[in-house]
């Protein structure tokens, strides 16, 4: 074939398309993947006990179930006045992984959950396992991580809804 003008043009075009693609995926990683919880009551009540998890981590049916079972919330009583619970549930459902506002990442989370399943833990979803498949068991057991629910142990900006790879700092112990 030899080096012709056409071959070089095709090569340059291919390189350009690849570079654009790489750039696009990096840009996707840079944006906050989940909108932070901007509903004050939800933020204040959830953050009293644990980091604020973005509503986009679970589908609406999971949030409905969670708010129905608040008096036994992972073994603890997290009950609220009915009116407050209803207001928080509305926010969580409206911003859920399968809601109208859901972005591509959230839709992938929702798509990985069986229609008849309403998990209460994001860490039990197929998507969580998929994005953490390179994390060995021994790492989860480090004392500064302690629990898979402790996102901020490694994802330094998790509470802002950002889980970008470059913000990950894994504790050594």
């Amino acid at each position: 074939m030899g080096i012709t003008f056409n071959n070089i043009l095709i090569l340059l075009l291919a390189l350009g398309v690849t570079a654009y693609g790489l750039n696009a995926s990096r840009a996707d990683d840079d944006v906050a993947s989940f909108p932070p919880v901007d509903h004050k009551l939800t933020h204040d009540e959830c953050s009293a006990c644990h980091m604020v998890y973005p509503a986009g981590l679970l589908p609406a049916r999971s949030w409905s179930r969670m708010m129905r079972e608040l008096d036994n919330h992972f073994g603890d009583d997290a009950s609220l006045a009915p009116q407050q619970a209803a207001e928080i549930k509305r926010y969580l459902v409206d911003n859920a992984a399968d809601g109208r506002m859901a972005n591509t990442r959230m839709r992938r989370i929702a798509a990985g959950i069986q229609p008849n399943d309403a998990p209460l833990r994001f860490t039990e979803t197929a998507y969580f396992h998929y994005v953490h498949d390179e994390v060995p068991n021994s790492m989860w057991k480090r004392s500064k991580i302690a629990s898979k629910a402790n996102c901020i142990a490694c994802h330094t900006r998790a509470e802002t809804g950002s889980f970008s790879e470059k913000e990950i700092r894994i504790p050594k112990e």
């Binding site: 953050s47 009293a48 006990c49 644990h50 980091m51 008096d71 603890d76 009583d77 997290a78 009950s79 609220l80 006045a81 302690a146 629990s147 629910a149 402790n150 142990a153």
Partner: protein
């Protein structure tokens, strides 16, 4: 005198829906406990430090999360810092009756497997207020 206690508690309902002083909240629980009851910081401290054998086999104490020192920060099971409980170092504590009642409701169930009595709540608040 007995019928007076519920009437007194009703009078205090407006207090329960807005910001209040530490003493107002203590007095409201004292009124619920009935006439003749006098809150005791000593009893409150014993209550705070007691170990409880729960139905699920666990032993629970208030100190599991709040630590032995109520002037220091504590930590929830989910790794969240709990601001100090003693109003002498955290003036915001025991100023919102609804918040106080919410946490008594949750924590008494989690630690004691039952609701706390008005007497226990009054004693515990008296203990908190005695910490200087």
């Amino acid at each position: 005198m007995k019928p007076l206690a519920p009437a007194l508690a009703l009078l205090l309902v407006p207090v329960m829906t807005q910001a209040a002083t530490h003493e107002q909240i203590l007095v409201a629980y004292q009124a619920q406990a009935g006439s003749g009851f006098s809150p005791s910081a000593n009893r409150g401290e014993t209550f705070f430090r007691a170990k409880h054998h729960k139905a699920n086999g666990e032993i629970a104490t208030c100190m599991d999360c709040h630590t032995e020192n109520l002037k220091a920060t504590g930590q929830t099971k989910a790794h969240k810092t709990i601001q100090p409980m003693a109003p002498s170092v955290n003036a915001e504590r025991i100023t919102d009756p609804a918040k106080v009642e919410k946490w008594f409701r949750r924590n008494c169930k989690d630690v004691l497997d039952r609701a706390c009595t008005a007497e226990e709540k009054a004693d515990f608040i008296a203990f908190l207020l005695s910490i200087r």
